[in-house]
Structures are given as structure tokens and as C-alpha cells.
Amino acid sequence: MTRLLVAAGNYDITQTVKTALSGTYYELISAFSHRDALFMFRTQTPDAVLVDAAMFDRNTGERTLAVLSRELHPVALIGYTSTPAVLHSAQNAVDHSRVMFIDQLDRAPLMKALSEALRIPLPTIEGLDDERDQDTAPKSLSIWRDDEIQMLFTLSRSLLEVLDLSEVLHRVVQAARHIADAEEAVLFMPQGDSGQLTIQAEVGAADGGSVSRGRQTDPSASHVYQTGESILIAAGFPGKYKQTANTNALLYVPVSVKDRRIAVLGVINRQKKTIFNRRHQDLLEQLAADAGIAIENARVHGMNLQRTNDLSALVNASQQINSSLSLETAMINICDQVNLLLNCGRVDVFHWNSSQDLPVVWARSQRAVWRVGYAPELSLKSHPGLAAGLRNKVQLISAFRPENPEEKEYLQSLGAASLVTISVVFDGQPLGLVLAYYVKAQETPPSLDVIHRAQAIGVELLSQQLHSGDAYHRAEFRAADEVNQLLKSDWVEFALLGQDRRSLLRLISSGTATWLEETYSDSALNTFGGSLQALREHKFIRASANGDTSTLGAQAMLDAVNGRSMLGVPMTLQGETIGFILIVDTERTRAFNERETQLAMGVAAQAATAIKNAELIRQLKVSYQELQTAQERLVGAARLSAMGELAGAVAHQVNNPLTTIVLDAELLLLKTTFDEKSREALEAILRSGKRAAAVVRRLLTTVHKERTSSVQRVNVVETIEETLFLIRAHVQREGIEVRSEVEVHGIPLMIAVREDLNDLWLNLLLNAHDALRGRKRGAMGVVVHDRHADDHVEVVVWDNGIGIPPENLDLIFEPFFTTKPAGEGTGLGLHICRQILDRLGGSVRVESRVGTGSRFIVRLPLVKE
């Protein structure tokens, strides 16, 4: 057998050679790096070496091929490269007579090159073996057994190929136990911010090899870590380090990278009587040197991997957050993504208006679980509504009903308008409550089958809590989601009746709510000015139940949100803090580390942009709607203006002939004596003429007129009196009573075009008059009150006429809507009223009952005196 060492960083090359030479008399060994190649070369004494011509020493930059060609122990050397440029420079770097070059790895050329290379006479050097022992091999190697060396090399190389940190640590302790032939092997590494040494990997421990991470170090390991000196302890061995109990022998060596200690590697014999010696120490130190590099590699790789993962998670989160332009969806996405990234129980998005000191809550997403000892308690004594909930199957509590003053404050502090409580009963005993919260007020409790399902889920969750302690999983949140869906609630809580039966423990809270239309500011935040100020100044705040906190206020805030740990990150846009995201873990005491804080800040930055975008879109929609309304009005106005011109032209054309018809008929009736039938006919002509005249007149008064008059301070009562004055005689002539009541203090002045007000009253009064047509004991009138509290005057124009059917109430202000016979009404009167009120900044509402009458209630803004 001829031993061939294949040295190539590229695994494909090794594989190709292996395939090409399979079934031949070549025995293949491989190396994957410059250093590896030198080791293999020096320890495995290959007959020939095939080297990737591109491989080089990372420290010196020298080609592996060149280094090997200078080795004292000469072998057949073949350089391989498929790249001409590499070939050229490699050829220049070596002695041509010693090295063959090939550019392909097929079986035939490879075999040919090998046989040729092996035929090259090798220089013979005197005293080869001695020199090798003295100069090239590390001294400690001289006392190693072959199998130990083999083990070490294999291990060193295998370690470098592994990039998963925990796998590296595992292999290191495995190897340590193996080479020291020990019972146990252990690896300590500093952990967390404190840098405390804890066990990170362990093998052969008494508990059957399971790794009990996080266990505290012993003083020996700390000493090794601090001084960098190995410790070797054996039973009866004199030394300053005391033997720990059950330890027969112990060996700890430091693990360093570039003179920086990163870990302590140790082997321990507890039962076994064998003790460790200097040779074991040498072996372990050698292993530690390789392990250091491997651990550092894996750690850097791990960090890169995590950074990549974080980055992709962040990209993913930002895509999610920005996927919707609706503010509400954006809010929910922000909460969900933060929850997903940081695996916490509750996420709140707060918003600061520039005018407000206290931020308002925009959204809250909860997937919170409290351990029994830490669950927020609700005293039944101070919550009689909830106590009643335990007795009743279901009840609806509203924050705005007077019968629940105690719960009102509670609900308001949570931003809920309504709460449905459903009692959970198990074996005839009250177990607790399902609490379903609603941001928008609810009118009716849920249906019975829904309640039953919610009760069943409640029993499942709360009894599980009773029996199995705090084993919570996703199933619980799924169940909670189901309850939310069933009850159409924003979030739901499962509260357990305490052992003392005096309080409720809120164990699970799940759901997402947004407050975009409502203003919900958590009054509990009021007292944490310091923390809010920090957030305002673009700083993050942190707190956890073990007292690790950024500000004192943050600690109090943590208590207020019933959390175990908390992180608040500001949302900043163009240098301005528009709000912040509060991240709360209700279950675990954890210090949100640098990485998690950075992630949260990253999401917050995305969230700020998303919020801004959503707001812009919302504004855009509003302006679009305004534009559309304006356009509709413009079209309407154009139609009305055309209508006005038409009406003017028609009036002129029609009124002249009508003048003749009416006047001449009247004259005839005055002058001549007729028989009864002729008189009736003439009277019919006169009546029809007058009716046609009235229609035309009505048309003229209702079409919009171009006003040249100016805006001025107008006495509202005066305009009403003027208009009443105009119509009173006309209306009274028909036997209709006209009343007016004015109860005002001083002169109610408003800024308006006087004629607008006159038109307004005229149209409303004519409308009232029309409603009285043909009614006996018809009455109509105007009532004026001033409301100095809000600087408005209220004018009620009423009639006891036919009334407006409910289905028409929405239509009466639409242009051309009329219930009068065709030709009698233009359908424009009330429409004009609304247009005038729009101009004046006033409003009108209608109260009407068919057969009883109508009240048009007009509100007009007055000039503040």
C-alpha cells in the first residue's frame, strides 16, 4: 500500500481523488487545512502528497506546497490546480524538480502523475529520525501513546469542522474524558453579564450523563480561569486545593484563544481510583488549545448565524408590519411581530400626541400567563360585580352604567367599555371566571350555547391549573382564542377563585385590542414620569423582578403591568418620539439583553414608519372623501344653478300668461254676472291660475340664488321675526295658528349672510306649512333658546301636521326629494336648508311622528361676546 495524503480545503477535491483512486493500491488520508496538512505529513508519513496548489498558510501567506517541498522528510509531491494563474505562481514558488503539477483529477492522469512522482529520486538526509524527534515534534508528543496522538488529531480536526457551539462543547468533553480515561469531563464557561463560570457541557456525571447546565462553578475552576494555570489534584496529593467531596482525582486546564481565557476544561474521577498525571495534563492542554479555536469559531459562527437570523426575522417582521396600510392592522402586526421575536406575554403600543403629556394606548396584544404566586389578584370585596359573576351564569357589566360604579374604574383602567363574565363551575363548586373584555360597548350578553362552550373551555383551563400547577402551552392560547372568537371579545381572561375564596387570580390573558377611535390612556402610567421622560428622550427602559432596572420608575411600572420583566423602546421618527412599545414578560424574570433590545428597537423603528404610513394613508383617505363630497356638492350646485337659470326663464315665460289668466278672471268675476256653471268654470280658471302661480313662486324661492350680500354679524332672532312676518298673514289666512317663543339672553349674533338665514327659516316654515295642508286645528311655530353654555342658539321649527315616516327621515334633505304631488314641490327646500347650515357651521336634526307632527331642531353657532 502506498499512503497518499490529499491536502485540500475544498472537500470536493478530496472526494474526487477518493473516487478516482478507489480500488487501487493507494491508501488515502486527508487534510483540510495548511496546519492540518503539516500535522498529517509529519505524523502519518505518507509516501506521496497531493496538495491543492492554492492552499496556503494563513499566518505567513506561504503556499502549503512550498512549505512541504522544504520539509526534511521528502515525499513525492503533486500540486493540483485547474486555474492557470494559480499554476503559474505555484510553479514559481517551488523547486520544479521536486514537484509535479496536474490540472485534472481523472483516474488516468492522476495515476500517471503519481507513478511519475513516486519515481523521482528523493534526497536522502542523514540523522533524519533524530532531527525529527528533536526539532519538529512538540516535546510533549514524545511521551504520548500512538492511539492518544491519533485521537487528538482526529479530534482537533473534527472539532474545526463543527460549527454548532453546543456540539463543539459536547465533543470537547467527550474527547477530554476519552483521552484522560476519566469518569467525568466538564467544561465551564462564563455566562451572562456577571461573567459567572457555569457548566456549559458535561459528560459522565452521576445523574447518567444528562447535562445540568447553569450549575455554579467550583472555586478550583474559577482559579484556573483567573490565573490560567492548570490544577491537578489527586487523593492524598499535597496542595492548596482542597478535594471536593466524592472526588478522587481532578484535573482542570484553562481554554484560551489568543491569550484570552474563554473556558475551563476539566476531568474528574469520583469512584475510579485512577489519578491524573502530568501526561494527562499535557494531553488535556493540547486538547484545550484546539478546543479554544473550535469554540471561538463556533461562537463567531453562532453569532453570525444569530445575527443573520435576527436580521431575517427583522426583515420578516418589517414586511409583516408594513404589509398593511390600515393603521389597525399595522398595530396588530406590530404587537404580533414583537411577541414573536421576543417571546413575551404582552406588547403595548403607546402613542404620544405632541399636545399630550400622557401617552395613549393604541394597541395591546396579550399572550400572558402568570404563575399562581405572581398572578394579579382582584379582591372580590372591592369588585362586587365580579363577585356577583361567580353566582350568575353570565352577566354583562358596562363601564357606562350607573349600577356598576366599582367596576367602572376597573374597566376604564383596562380601556374596556364592557365586560362579560361567565362563571366556571366544576363539581358544583365555583372554580373561577371567564372574563371577556370589549373596547366597544356591548348591548346584549352572548347566546347560551356560546356561554356553554366558553364555560367548558374555562373548566378545562382552570382545572388544569389546579391539578398540574403551571404547565402552560400553546393549547391554552388556542383555547383562549376560541373563546375570543365565540364571544366576539377583544381579549379574554381566565381567573381562578383563590384558595381563600376572597380573590380572583388572573392566570391567562389573551387577545389583541386597538384603541384608534377611542382615547385610552392608562392612568397607571401617570406616576412613572421618569421612565416616560427617558422614552421621550429616545432611551429604552428595562426592568425585571430581580431588581435589574434602568430607572426606579421602570420598576414601579413593571409592578403596575403585573410583569416579571419589561422592556420599553421608543418609536422615533425624524428625531421625534411618536410613541413607544412596551414589552412585558409576565412569566419569566429575564434581563432583556443587548441583542433583544436591539431587535425591539429595530421593530420599533419599522413600527414608527408603518404608523406614519398608515396615518398618511388615513389622511389621504379622509381628504379623498372630502374631495369626493366636494365634487358631489359641486355637481349638485351646478345642477341647482342650471335649475335656477331654468326656473328664472320658465318663471318669466309662465308668469306673464298667468298674470293675464289670474287678473282677467278676477276682473270678469267682478264685472259680469254669470249663470252658475259659467261662474264655476271661471272660478276654476282663477283657482288653477293661482295654483300654477304658487308653484312657480315656490320654485323661485327654493332655487339657490347668487348672493352679492356680504357676511356680517346677524341677529338670528331678527331674521326669524322677519321671516315670520312675511308668511304669518298668508298662513293665518288658512286658519293655521302661528306661534313663536323666544327665550334668549341678549342678542344672539352670528356671522352669516343675512339672506341665508332668511332662506333657512322661510324654507323650514314653508315646509311646516305644507305639512299642515288640509289639517284641522293646524298649528306651527318657532321656539328659540340660546345655549350660552356652548355658545349656540337652538331654533325649533315645529308643526302638528302629517309627520314624516321613519323611512323618509334620511331622505328629506336630499335634493329633489318630495312627497308632494308632481308639480307642487321642487324637493329643494330642505336641501337648501342643509346647504345653508353647512355654510353656517350649524346642524339640523328632525324629530317626527306620523300623524302627530314634526320638529326641526336647528343649532347655530353664535359669536362669542
Binding site: 328664472g648 318663471a651 318669466h652 308668469n655 306673464n656 300668461p657 298667468l658 298674470t659 293675464t660 289668466i661 289670474v662 287678473l663 282677467d664 278676477e666 276682473l667 267682478l670 264685472k671 291660475g689 293661482k690 302661480a693 312657480v696 313662486r697 323661485l700 324661492t701 340664488k705 347668487e706 352679492t708 341677529n715 332672532v717 331678527e718 322677519e722 312676518f725 312675511l726 304669518r728 298673514a729 293665518q732 342678542i747 339672506e755
Partner: protein, 229 residues
């Protein structure tokens, strides 16, 4: 017997008005264009001019404005007929110096009342005190001239009657409704406040243009008043 000129391009309406006037036993001249009206007015001054607003060649407003610029016709009572019923038209007509208006189609009693009120107004002014004086405002009812801050202006018949009424009731705020009854002789509860407003505006323009003093005060929510100094 009063002589009335009626001007309207619509022959049918003109004839109807003629029949009304005939029935009321007035003397009348029916004229179907403004130009003809101007020619006839050169020859004969009627007691009342009934004028349609919308007419080809020259509309009623233009004719009225032209007549008011002529000292001979400044006191001629002018009654507008309008078919449009548009407030703007009416106000323009009143600003041009017309004394009153009726909107077509009008009923017989309405036209009758307007005509007789205007004719009465012209007659009655000749009785009573010839001149009134309040502060530096003086009214001569013989000439229908007012003198404000030594500036003499010629008033129309209605302007004269309105100012006279205000001067006869100094320091009293008179509402448009009251003035419509007193000056225009509308029955209570009828008439257009715009009529009063337009005449007050015209009066002020004449009295207060040069003197830059406010003789006729507006009392908010009540009406108009002339105060003694």
C-alpha cells in the same frame, strides 16, 4: 283723475293691466317698449309709471335709473312689475329708484292696493308742514329736497315720505314692518323688508355721501331711527 303710464313688452299682460286700470277708472296710456315710453314722457308727465323689468332694447331698471337722473322725473312714482320674482332683480330695481314693486302673476287686490297707495302718497305730501328740521338735516316737502350739512339733494317721492316719517318720529326706532305700513301702506304683516332696506340705503347714499355723517341709525334687532342732536 290720475293718469297712469303702463309699460310692458308683453302685449297680453299690458292689455290685462289696461283692463284693470280701466276697471279702477284711471286714465291710462299703454306702452309696449321703453323707448316709446321715453318719447311719450317727453310730452306728458303721468301721475304714476308702471314698468315691467324685463324688456328688450332697454329694460325697466335702466329706464328707471335714467328717469331718476332727470330732475323732472325724480318724484314720479314708479311701480315695478317683475316676472322673475328674484330678490336680486327686485333689489336692483329698488336701488335704481323705484318706489315699489309687485311680482307677476299678481292678484287684482294687490295691484289695486299698490297703485292707490302710490297715488295717495304723491297727493298727501302737499299737505302738512312744508319743512322739517332736525339738527343740520332739513327736509323741504315742497320741493322734495333734503339739505344735509349744507348739501342739497333731490329725493324721490318715496324717499321723501320715508325720511319725513322718520323725521316726524325722531328718537324712535321704527321697524321695517312699521315703515312698510306707514310709508308704503302695506296691510299689517305683508310687504318685503327689502323694500325698506333698499330705500334706507338710497337715502343714506344721498344724505351721507358728502356730509359723511350718519343721520339714519340702524338699531340692531329693531329698525331705523333719526336722533335729535
Amino acid at each position: 283723475m290720475a293718469h297712469i303710464f303702463a309699460v310692458d313688452d308683453e302685449n297680453e299682460v299690458l292689455q290685462t293691466v289696461g283692463r284693470v286700470l280701466e276697471h279702477e277708472q284711471y286714465e291710462m296710456t299703454l306702452i309696449n317698449s321703453s323707448i316709446k315710453a321715453l318719447q311719450l314722457l317727453e310730452k306728458q308727465k303721468p301721475d304714476l309709471l308702471i314698468l315691467d323689468i324685463i324688456m328688450p332694447e332697454m329694460d325697466g331698471v335702466t329706464l328707471c335709473r335714467r328717469l331718476r337722473r332727470d330732475p323732472r322725473f325724480i318724484t314720479l312714482p314708479i311701480l315695478f312689475l317683475t316676472a322673475k320674482g328674484n330678490v336680486d332683480d327686485i333689489v336692483t330695481g329698488l336701488d335704481a329708484g323705484a318706489d315699489d314693486y309687485v311680482v307677476k302673476p299678481f292678484e287684482l287686490p294687490e295691484l289695486r292696493a299698490r297703485i292707490s297707495a302710490l297715488l295717495r302718497r304723491g297727493n298727501r305730501e302737499k299737505n302738512g308742514k312744508a319743512s322739517l328740521e332736525i339738527g343740520d338735516l332739513r327736509l323741504d316737502s315742497e320741493t322734495f329736497q333734503a339739505c344735509a350739512a349744507d348739501e342739497t339733494v333731490q329725493l324721490t317721492m318715496t324717499e321723501h315720505k320715508l325720511l319725513r316719517y322718520l323725521m316726524e318720529h325722531p328718537d324712535q326706532a321704527l321697524s321695517p314692518g312699521h315703515l312698510l305700513q306707514a310709508v308704503w301702506e302695506y296691510p299689517q304683516g305683508t310687504g318685503d323688508p327689502d323694500l325698506v332696506r333698499a330705500h334706507i340705503r338710497n337715502l343714506r347714499a344721498k344724505l351721507e355721501k358728502k356730509s359723511r355723517r350718519r343721520y339714519i341709525r340702524t338699531i340692531h334687532g329693531v329698525g331705523y331711527m333719526i336722533s335729535t342732536p
